[in-house]
Symmetry: C2
Subunit: 465 residues, 2 copies
């Protein structure tokens, strides 16, 4: 008999029908005369209850049906008497696909720490928590593709291996096929990369933005969604060495349209989560973060407040003058810390905030220069709890201005000639932004550690699995 | 006035309305009294014609409106007199965003070879050919996500950086942050990887399958869609060093369901292309491959013929006996070459073919062993023109059998302990397959070289942009 997915089985009301479900045993309890098996197949956080009558199934037979075992059960769908569930299955046959020895199976019923589960990342998707997190991860990826596709954007794959580090966004990983035991050097003592796979030194991308801009200046509106890498030795709950980024880039968009796009985009994603991930959000909110729904609703129910960096600094300085204590000092020219961003969002405006027009010294070379000579058309979207969630800008479209700024910031022409070409030939105003996928997931799931929202986190000293 | 995307403008019939379009000039022709500008914004392969009346726009003003320039044009939408187009715009204002000096802009009207365009990959999305290819690439990615999402699969991100090369699918790129000028060695003369970023030797993944299996054995049905890497020195029109793979993995699926999934999947994708990419397919079919539609229809209109490798070999041997000449000899035990695969598809069955049950010696350690002791439950999907497009198998779910096979193939336990754990705890039958995204795109676009279906191809000696 063909298998019924548990998420579908739980919605059925055609009681009396015989169905087959397959999945992993979460718990088995009961006594000689009847056993109750909670079965999960990953399609939903909810288990279906299999009732195994003692008259039909011996204790001996059911003995290996322990937590973690995989079984196939066929039987009549009936209305459940138990609370918290509407249907259950009166088992007629049970086949055991695979056992899970209770002496060695690491995922017993209760009480694992998230730290312990990270060490068995190959099994943690079998837990309620990580089932929920990874289903939400799936849904957020779907929401992202759907949002951009509906608006006529093209999904564009920028390269992972690259010979240029133009953005200077962070330390790069080197990619090589050289034999490290036999490195050839040229007469100056430099390593001879002509022997390396790509004929030059290569590394892993820190951002697809620059290549994304090339595509936007041809196809109009594109977005990337791919892995990016930072070789920073940051052992924090907010940093990964390998993470996924979404970077839309739109020809003809100025900063105002860029802000609107960012707001529409992130509200769309969170509305999607509220609509399609309710069961998983209920679980995670209940287990880890009682204010989860409040924060999600806060973002979808408020227009984002737009103001300049300079106005933001003034508000923060006034707060300090009135006695508010920040850990880090704040004045015009300094980068905002998370505490400052959260003050603006949570205490001052009580709305998500978009700050624009930052000092050029603290932003990248490619951002559009304002007429004041001091600021650039950058924008950061600030959220409750986490601070900055999106960073973007209108891009400098003027060839001469961009060239001058690149020179001031010591970016070699040989690394960016192709990027400069978009300004030499058919340039136009354009804008874009970047969202770290795992930052979004931290916000949507309420999880506290970024290692718990990606299946196999890569961090210093950790590339297991 | 807000911008109208050209693909939308071309569908409008509200003649007399004033609209604004923005894009890049493909051509300008005409005379003193009237100029015709073909404008493209990447939203479609079709240009919109801007009619600039000599009375309103001087020759002097229009002089920089050359191929590649970026402009904004506002004017009345009118019915077109010209053939091949239904609407045009009678320009009232034209703003020039960016010029493209005809002396230096590389993309003049005609006659570039695909080889030349690869050298200017940063500009080639502005051509008809690459606009079409990358729009189709977008659509195929959407089709893939939609197909799996509709069927309850979860999109699962497997790691890009990995410390294990279990699949042995090919040469790996090494990823490191070690200072290559100062490599520390231990007392045995081995490089001390405890100083490297991950505390051990790491590389770029060749496949997400093994991690995908872990997820399937928890969440039921998953798929990956991400970049994979092969450091093979293959300079052919069919190999890339960096390419995107789609790898579905499904708990409880046996080989027959796996075959059906592969057929449904690829037919879904091609139907999507036929439905949503008609303009671009028309162009590519016309320019590069007159049989493109025939092959696409061949795949969607035929059930895939299923037979065993052994039966396939018999047919090929009979063909040889009857005088058919193959370049490579064929007998039981040898790997099929593209010519053999194409013979089965194009000449013998005149249908796409799925071959199963290959000799275990030519397949991977994780494939389910048949009772005959000789073959494994592998499956390859074979297509016209390109041969193998999908490779997959039912996976060996038996712990002891898998362990034995891994030992026979010299796969170190330390590299696969986590993979083996899925068989130790709650194992079940499961199956999956892999599709190289660019192979699919070669088939769908009719392009001949795989470097022309990915924006920035990485191949030996080439990591530019």
């Amino acid at each position: 008999m063909s298998r019924t997915i548990i998420v579908d089985a739980l919605k059925r009301t055609d009681f009396g029908t015989s169905i087959t479900v397959k999945g992993w045993v979460r718990t088995r309890r009961g006594n000689k005369s009847v056993s109750f098996i909670a079965l999960n197949d990953g399609s939903t956080i909810h288990n279906i209850q299999i009732v195994a009558d003692g008259g039909r199934f011996s204790e001996e037979f059911l003995k290996p049906v322990t937590t973690g075992a995989c079984i196939c059960a066929t039987g009549k769908l009936v209305e459940s008497q138990g609370k918290g569930q509407t249907v259950e299955i009166q088992a007629e046959t049970i086949e055991i696909y695979g056992t899970a020895d209770p002496e060695t199976y690491p995922l017993q019923k209760k009480g694992h720490t998230l730290e312990f589960l990270r060490e068995i990342a190959h099994l943690r998707p079998r837990t309620n928590t990580f089932g929920a997190v990874f289903r939400i991860r799936h849904h957020m990826a779907m929401a992202i593709h759907r949002f951009f596709h509906e608006r006529g954007f093209f999904y564009f794959h920028t390269p992972v291996i690259t010979a240029s580090d133009c953005e200077g966004a962070g330390q790069m990983f080197q990619v090589t096929t050289l034999n490290l035991y036999n490195l050839k050097k040229d007469k100056n003592g430099s390593i001879d990369y002509s022997e390396d796979f790509f004929g030059q030194q290569a590394g892993l991308t820190v951002s697809g933005q620059l290549e994304g801009e090339l595509a936007a200046m041809a196809m109009g509106a594109i977005y990337t969604f791919g892995p990016t890498f930072r070789a920073e030795n940051s052992n924090t709950p907010r940093h990964l060495s390998e993470f996924w980024m979404i970077e839309p880039e739109v020809a003809f968009n100025e900063i105002e349209e860029n802000m609107q796009l960012a707001q529409d985009f992130i509200q769309y994603c969170i509305r999607w989560a509220l609509e399609y991930c309710k069961d998983d959000l209920d679980f995670l909110g209940d287990m880890y973060d009682k204010e989860l729904y409040d924060r999600l609703n806060f973002v979808v129910n408020n227009d984002f407040k737009r103001l300049t960096y300079t106005e933001g600094i003034k508000i923060l300085e006034e707060a300090v003058a009135k006695g508010h204590k920040f850990e880090f000092p704040i004045s015009w020219g300094s980068d905002l810390q998370s505490e400052h961003e959260r003050y603006l969002v949570e205490q001052h405006f009580k709305k998500p905030v978009i700050l624009t027009d930052y000092p050029k010294e603290i932003k990248s070379f490619y951002m559009k220069q304002n007429g004041d000579g001091k600021t650039v058309r950058a924008m950061d979207v600030l959220f409750p709890k986490i601070g900055e969630i999106i960073g973007g800008s209108q891009r400098e479209e003027d060839y001469e201005k961009l060239k001058r700024r690149a020179q001031e910031m010591n970016i070699p022409e040989k690394d960016v000639w192709w990027y400069m070409d978009t300004r030499r030939f058919g340039t136009a105003p354009h804008s874009g932004f970047g969202l770290g996928f795992e930052r979004l997931l931290l916000f949507v799931t309420g999880m506290a550690n970024i290692r718990d929202v990606i299946p196999f986190p890569r961090t210093p000293n950790n590339a297991e699995f």
